[in-house]
Symmetry: C2
Subunit: 331 residues, 2 copies
Amino acid sequence: MRIAVDTSGGEYAPHEIVKGAIKAAREYEVEITLVGKKEILYVLAGRHMGQLGINIVDASQVIGDEESAVEAVRSKPDSSIVVGTNLVKEGEASAFVSAGNTGALFYSALATLGKIDGIDRPAIGALINIDGSGPVLLVDAGANADCRPNHLAQFARLGSTYLREIFALDSPRVGLLNNGVEEKRGNRLAQETHQLLKESKLNFIGNIEGQDISGGKADVIVTDGFTGNIVLKTIEGLSSHWLYSLTQGGQLFSKAYRLPLRALNRDLGVDSWTKRLDYREAGGACLLGINGNVIKAHGRSRANAVKNAIELAKKTAERGLSQKIKEESNE
Amino acid sequence: MRIAVDTSGGEYAPHEIVKGAIKAAREYEVEITLVGKKEILYVLAGRHMGQLGINIVDASQVIGDEESAVEAVRSKPDSSIVVGTNLVKEGEASAFVSAGNTGALFYSALATLGKIDGIDRPAIGALINIDGSGPVLLVDAGANADCRPNHLAQFARLGSTYLREIFALDSPRVGLLNNGVEEKRGNRLAQETHQLLKESKLNFIGNIEGQDISGGKADVIVTDGFTGNIVLKTIEGLSSHWLYSLTQGGQLFSKAYRLPLRALNRDLGVDSWTKRLDYREAGGACLLGINGNVIKAHGRSRANAVKNAIELAKKTAERGLSQKIKEESNE
């Protein structure tokens, strides 16, 4: 199986991306196509090409994180994001992994690969895992700022199918993010969505509140892309802030008491939190409902996160996720 | 100045509420009216009545946290929340503090005291303070699930006036919570609100994202009550989770290395985080745009938080906040 990897997107591109891709090629049974500026890629990965089955596909343009998605995709046909999604479209790669501009990746995938039959609004699913008890999928994490109730009900189905197929969760618990647990709470969107989910075949556990996100109450957390994006970034911001303060405090303490910082970080759980919460290890997100396998790695992904995202991409392609989604949306 | 305090609302009612009220009566120049079940209140506070100028007003009914706000307020005219807001209405108290059901408190205040002239949608302002650099006011934190752009623009004005009058912030920076910093980002509500805020006389700094909440970028964070409530509870949930884990880890570590836990908690900043983040010390929230001074203390308030909320109530009444808001809304 060949997986295309965007080497121009993300904060640590291209070095960490290439490093992660090479790791993945070594550890998993995948062949890698590196998409990006070919002169650089030959320098970084040239010596691994034959041995590990690594290809290079040139993409001279780069879409920056601050660029407007639609304009950027339209005006940069030779950008790594557009070239990468085209490789999936043409069957040259089974999946595409990018840590670049989320909006552009989403729009490029949507424009090139289209929606799965029966899906109105593809969405972004973000894997968050705060208490370590298992994957929690927040969907939509930012693709659709304005939504209707049937869109949210579809996000719930997409998320359930994803967790079942990729994480082998039998009957994922679906929670509707809301400003209260009572059935009648919420804005109009949440109230109407609640009714749709209640009537659905999903394992709907009702409304959940903000504090329940870190409590592991639900496996799939459904919300509109506006709220989802804000909640996700709130969690990321707070986590970074805490980890930073804790690291500073730990250094002071370990100096004052002449203790090994390593033991402190281990016993206090700093290490495992860092792993769980930090983007660098978090793996990837997924574009759900797109007719092709496109994986979004976090913009701050380093080599290990890129490797994890590639593993996720491999799994997604192997399980035929798109086909499963299509079948279920026609039920 | 006399302040009415709801002794039937909140997780630690009535004991911690009464304790906090007595502390406030001792420390600040306020007289207190305890509102609640009189038999209990005479037992708890009877001996302080003469000396500290504490009154007791009977309220035989209690509105629970899970009750529907409108129904509860209508069907329980002798509840502490309704009786307390009536005391403000009748001029028997300058302000009312409650740790009870937020929705019911808001609805009771709105129904009894009404809106300030010129205000369409009173809102809840929640004070969050993550990095310790100063107060950050999130508004609306839950009163209005469905909003229009002019409502959000009004929330921005209410929040600015509040921080200026109560916290002496000269020109509070107003940020619009959004799923991207670019002007055109957001759902329709956010996009249209952005334009209104741009044209306003407020110190509008533009869109801010979830991660900026903990970064202290803005003093007033404006959003609809649905998103605001979810974000606030997400922060609370995550903070509780971290503090709990950290305390557990700290105990293990201090045992293993025979170190005083107190020093560890101090050096790691656990103490100051606990204070800043935990509800117990967080003071209160405010109902903005209500024609009278009503302060919402967090449901998990203990004595110190109640005392802080009473101090806030005193300040709010002294500064004539409602009058200031009225003047400015007519400008």
